[in-house]
Symmetry: C2
Subunit: 69 residues, 2 copies
Amino acid sequence: MENRLRELRERDSLTQEDLAARVGVSRQTIISLERGRYNPSLLLAYKLARVFGLRIEDVFIFEDGKGDE
Amino acid sequence: MENRLRELRERDSLTQEDLAARVGVSRQTIISLERGRYNPSLLLAYKLARVFGLRIEDVFIFEDGKGDE
DNA sequence: CCCTGATGTAAAACTAACTTGACATGACGA
DNA sequence: TCGTCATGTCAAGTTAGTTTTACATCAGGG
């Protein structure tokens, strides 16, 4: 699953640490997410989207697999 | 975090087992989600929303905590 | 009355999300 | 050159999502 975190974070001139603090996770978590290493929890995805004033689907990009991804 | 899973599932006359199969998880997972026992992964939330033809934010309801939820 | 299907619980086990800490690198300014 | 800030890696540990199995209840149909 891809996402626009890095792009959005840089757009807002936020550091990884800033962003982590805003959504209440560690910096490692942000790094791993930006690198697409895993699939966040829904709540975290939601908080991130809100930081950027977007909807979840506008931040996280789901390969449009019809079937089983 | 609340959600409309039960309502939507019944609207579409799906059984918990049907829904579980459609999104590729176990029936227990659906039960726990309907009862609000936890916070799904983003991917699961996305698949569920798609089954019902909705957006994630239309299925899962985030108490609108400004701050730290 | 019994059988079956749908829903629910409980507990143990596994996996994936997330944390913590230690360390490496490149860019930049003093 | 030295310090520092932002980014990154790695590895080990904790927590929470998810699975599996086994069992209980209730409703409806034969």
